[in-house]
Amino acid sequence: MAAEQITIEPAKVEDIQSVIDLDEAITGSAKSEYWYNIYNRQSLQSNGIFLVARVDDAVAGYITGNIRTWEFGSPPAGWIHAIGVNDTYRKLGIGTLLFERIKAFFIESDTATIRTMLHIDDHLLMSFFRFQGLSAGPFIELDMTLPSNEMA
């Protein structure tokens, strides 16, 4: 399939159910409220972006992110929060097209860095981002399991 048959455009509210379904297929978790909130925040604010990839009017993939400033002491950086591509449309370069568009958005916004966070065991997604040129950044994520409120 030629790249010109794939269109990348801002997500519309009617796309969100497709995004929810695609995210559930990828992660196993349906997050309806989360995705509508993401749409409201990223699409309607100038520092956010929510794109979908369409193939024959079907949502084949999505990417979302925004520019965050001074969190964790970091100068402004363009964060990619989520990316997903329908299995049916894999190996068509959709992930790369989505990434290049969000990268262009961050560049146009004079952001000097792209950043993302992903599960340490998600080697496939990590490999995708590394292929696009990302590498380990100057931050490290730490966490701790908390006792339940009843046991605290």
Binding site: I120, D121, H123, M126, S127, R130, F131, G133, S135, A136
Partner: protein, 164 residues
């Protein structure tokens, strides 16, 4: 992170071959490029060929060529061929009556292994080649910008000198 010599040679050779898609690169050229003996190189190439990562043909016009998919072969795949008992996710054996501090030390070391494994499993040979090209382009752009800035400064100085 310490790798044995054969592993390092294997990484250098495979990355170089990936950066030359479709080309036959002679073992002699590889040995000269990396300053390694042809004897050691031959052993490495044999192992890579057995793993169906490269082909190696003798005679005039012969040489080595990468034949696997460089977007799928990772640094971990190469390292696994040449390092014995190397694994980032193997639990360390502990005696039942070991002190609890040993378990915590083991957990910290496992954390390091997990990060190392994630890095090695996510970097493909093609990614290394692509990043090399990206850095080269960025370097050229930076040099060009520095050159333009110096040229502008010289032009300014020339005008200033002329005015005095």
């Amino acid at each position: 992170m310490r790798l044995n010599q054969a592993t390092q040679y294997a990484i250098w050779v495979t990355v170089h071959l990936v950066s030359r898609p479709g080309e036959q690169v002679s073992a002699g050229d590889l040995a000269d490029l990396f300053g390694i003996s042809q004897h050691h190189l031959a052993k490495v190439i044999r192992s890579l060929a057995f793993a169906r990562l490269v082909t190696s043909t003798r005679g005039p016009g012969g040489g080595c060529q990468f034949i696997a998919d460089p977007k799928r072969v990772t640094l971990f795949d190469i390292i696994s061929l040449f390092e014995d008992n190397w694994s980032g996710d193997r639990p360390r054996a502990q005696k039942p009556d070991s002190p609890p501090t040993l378990a915590e030390v083991s957990r910290v070391l496992s954390e390091i292994d997990r990060i190392t494994l994630a890095t090695l499993r996510s970097i493909t040979l093609q990614t290394i080649v692509n990043n090399t090209e990206r850095r080269s382009i960025q370097h050229n752009v930076a040099d060009s910008a520095a050159g333009n800035a110096n040229g502008a400064a010289r032009a300014t100085n020339t005008v200033t000198d002329g005015d005095t």
